[in-house]
């Protein structure tokens, strides 16, 4: 298992990074593959919600609070809207929030974390105090106050979540940069007079892609879950936009004893998606983190590192 990647290299079969990742995912991580499929399904459901949903998102039908039936697979709510359609459109909200927030936060984490780690010293000390500040306020409470400051809504949630996770995530990026900045190739780049911006973008950035991707895939389920929690508390996406969290609050709770199907399905969809995204994130971490690769424990890893570093020492000399 550990040798599969090097064997492939030896055979000269070189795929692009993504293809290689998918092949390894399917071969080595059955649970991760399931997670990947669930995440892909969420993505497709979100994109093609218009075609998949049998009814419009806020389209009222004649039957109010109808239990699940052949006509309404998951029942209808107190306004006669089809729950299945709303759950499908809710996927779109989760996809939009999940992807944009992770994109913003990843970018922000790189922008903050990379210089902080690279320059170090006083600059790092000051930047990290600001990061500490955001980290030590409990996330949900910080978000509650921020959202009440700028008002609930899709864009507001995206900005606030992106900021919070971007700033907190920069700590990991900083750590990764500190880990590689003493490498010989960085010193070499500096020695031949490479400008700092180029060192950062050409030499550091490609080498911290593994932690960046791991971080993004770990953040995705967290962000989706937090958005739902905020919407549940009434601080997220305001109705009538169908958010899985929002569907569980308000009317979902008022009618929960009379029409439990109003509360069951959005939560189930949310749990499934967070489960899948978590599985995928775990698999991505296992596959991309060189310290965990192969899974033969500390002793084995140490051995492997020694064998790997042989050609490298040649370069150094």
């Amino acid at each position: 298992m550990a040798d599969s990647s090097s064997e492939r290299l030896a055979e000269g079969k070189r795929h692009s990074f993504l293809v290689d990742f998918v092949i390894r995912l399917v071969k080595e991580k059955p649970l991760g593959t399931v997670g990947g499929i669930i995440t892909l399904l969420l993505l497709l459901t979100g994109i093609f919600a218009n075609f998949l949903a049998p009814y419009g998102v806020n389209e009222p039908t004649a039957s109010i609070l109808a239990p699940p039936s052949a006509q309404f697979w998951l029942g209808t709510d107190n306004l006669g809207r089809d729950i299945l359609s709303r759950v499908i459109f809710g996927a779109r909200v989760s996809v939009i929030i999940g992807l944009t927030v992770v994109a913003i936060s990843t970018l922000l984490a790189i922008i903050i974390g990379m210089p902080s780690g690279y320059f170090g010293g006083k600059f790092d000390l000051i930047v990290q105090r600001f990061v500490d500040t955001v980290m030590c306020v409990p996330d949900l409470m910080l978000l509650l106050v921020l959202i009440s400051m700028i008002g609930p809504g899709m864009w507001q949630v995206i900005i606030v979540l992106g900021l919070r996770w971007g700033i907190v995530g920069s700590r990991v990026i900083r750590g990764a940069v500190i880990g590689i900045k003493e490498n010989m190739y960085i010193h070499a780049a500096v020695a031949i007079g490479c400008p700092t911006t180029k060192v950062l973008t050409r030499h550091i950035l490609p080498n911290i892609m593994a932690p960046v991707i791991i971080q993004a895939s770990v953040q995705l389920p967290t962000v989706i879950l937090i958005e739902a929690s905020l919407s549940f508390l009434g601080y997220g996406i305001p109705p009538p936009t169908p958010s899985w969290g929002g569907m569980l609050s308000g009317s979902g709770r008022t009618y929960m004893f009379k029409a439990p199907w109003m509360a069951i399905w959005p939560g189930l969809a949310l749990a499934l998606v967070v489960y899948g995204a978590n599985m995928l994130g775990d698999a991505a971490r296992d596959l991309l983190d060189p310290r965990l690769r192969g899974g033969v424990g500390r002793y084995g890893v140490r051995e492997k590192k020694a064998s790997l570093s042989k050609p490298k020492t040649g370069d150094d000399l």
Binding site: P30, L31, R129, F130, D132, T133, C136, V137, P138, D139, L140, M141, L142, L144, V145, L146, S148, M149, G151, P221, L225, A228, S229, F232, L233, G245, L248, S249, G252, R253, M256, F257, P260, A263, I264, P266, G267, L268, L270, A271, L272, V274, Y275, N278, M279, D282, G295, V296, G297, R298, Y299, G300
Partner: protein, 330 residues
């Protein structure tokens, strides 16, 4: 070690200062100030002229001075109206703006409930997490391990607010059972009190147990591959002894530190769980305070939680060094 602790404490000072600054101004920037609400209420009921009322209310709440002065008073570096210094530095969080009682007292009322919920769910989380995490590691890559790991992620993935709602709905539909809405004090009826807290604590503990389970598993896996475990096996010790005496002791050290990581989950979760189960704890208090724009109450709660987080993280890091002699902090 002492130098490390001093360094950490010194680094915490600017952090806490920035937190206080951020919290103070953030909370006051929330649109729809408390004065507007109060004036509206006065106009509805009273006969005063709005402008006069406004000025009096602002003065009574201490909101008529420049905002930096308000901040100074809140922190305790600017004299209050009577010339004395009383702010956070003097241990005074001020009075809540609606009920006009000290913030410390407001918090003291809700605190035991949140604390009981938190401690119970932490205990429940460990009771679920440790056995499954250990089993999962011992039987790595078997079906038992897959089921254990899936269960751990399920625990993380199932949203607390949904599980809480389901726990409220289905027992009542199937067996006509509804949890009590009124708080039963522990001193009056300990059993009833525990019965009341057990369900919310399990719901909250689920999310925590998922994290601990994964941590326990990966730590056990690492320890089980160490040389001294091989030696223990080679001596012919039974599996129970190897696992319990040799592996578990070392694997659990990092797991203990996870309490620090679980604090935000615990605090955020308690806001939601208290809301669902109608427990009048600190989590519900902060939701109410944000809606009511009770500036002093929100900022007081936030600063307390933030300082608690800083201290817990520090204590956890120090505990780590004490428990694991291999760890040295510079």
């Amino acid at each position: 070690m002492r130098i490390y602790i001093i360094r950490r404490l010194l680094l915490a000072i600017p952090t806490v200062f920035l937190v206080s600054l951020g919290i103070f101004f953030m909370v006051r920037l929330i649109p729809g100030s408390i004065v507007d609400t109060m004036v509206a209420e006065c106009i509805e009921t009273g006969t005063f002229m709005p402008e006069e009322v406004r000025a009096t209310i602002e003065h009574n709440l201490g909101l008529d001075v420049p905002i930096f002065q308000q901040y100074g008073r809140w922190v305790g570096v600017w004299p209050q109206e009577d010339g004395s210094f009383s702010g956070i530095l003097q241990g005074n969080l001020g009075k809540s703006l609606w009920r006009k009682i000290p913030v410390a007292k407001e918090i003291a009322l809700g605190w035991p409930i949140t604390l009981e919920l938190g401690i119970m769910s932490l205990i429940i989380a460990q009771l679920i997490a440790l056995p499954i995490g250990i089993y999962s590691a011992l039987r790595q890559d078997t079906w038992g391990d897959y089921i254990g790991r899936s269960f751990a992620i399920t625990c993380i993935a199932v949203p607390g607010f949904w599980l809480g709602t389901m726990v409220m709905v289905f027992p009542s539909i199937w067996w006509g059972y509804t949890p009590s809405i009124f708080l039963i004090p522990f001193t009056e009826d300990p059993i009833g009190n525990l019965k009341m807290f057990i369900v919310p604590a399990i719901v909250l503990g689920m999310a925590l147990s998922g994290i601990t389970m994964r941590m326990t598993r990966s730590m056990m896996l690492e320890v089980l591959r160490q040389d001294y475990i091989r030696t223990a096996w080679a001596k012919g010790l039974r599996e129970r002894v190897v696992v319990m005496r040799h592996a578990l002791k070392n694997a659990l050290i990092p797991v203990i530190t996870i309490v620090g990581l679980q604090m935000p989950v615990l605090i955020g979760g308690s806001v939601i769980i208290e809301q669902i189960f109608c427990l009048p704890g600190v989590g519900r208090l902060i939701l109410e305070a944000v809606i009511q724009r009770d500036y002093t109450l929100v900022s007081g709660l936030l600063i307390l939680f933030s300082v608690a987080m800083v201290l817990i993280n520090l204590v956890v890091d120090i505990a780590y060094a004490y428990l694991d002699p291999r760890v040295h902090y510079k």
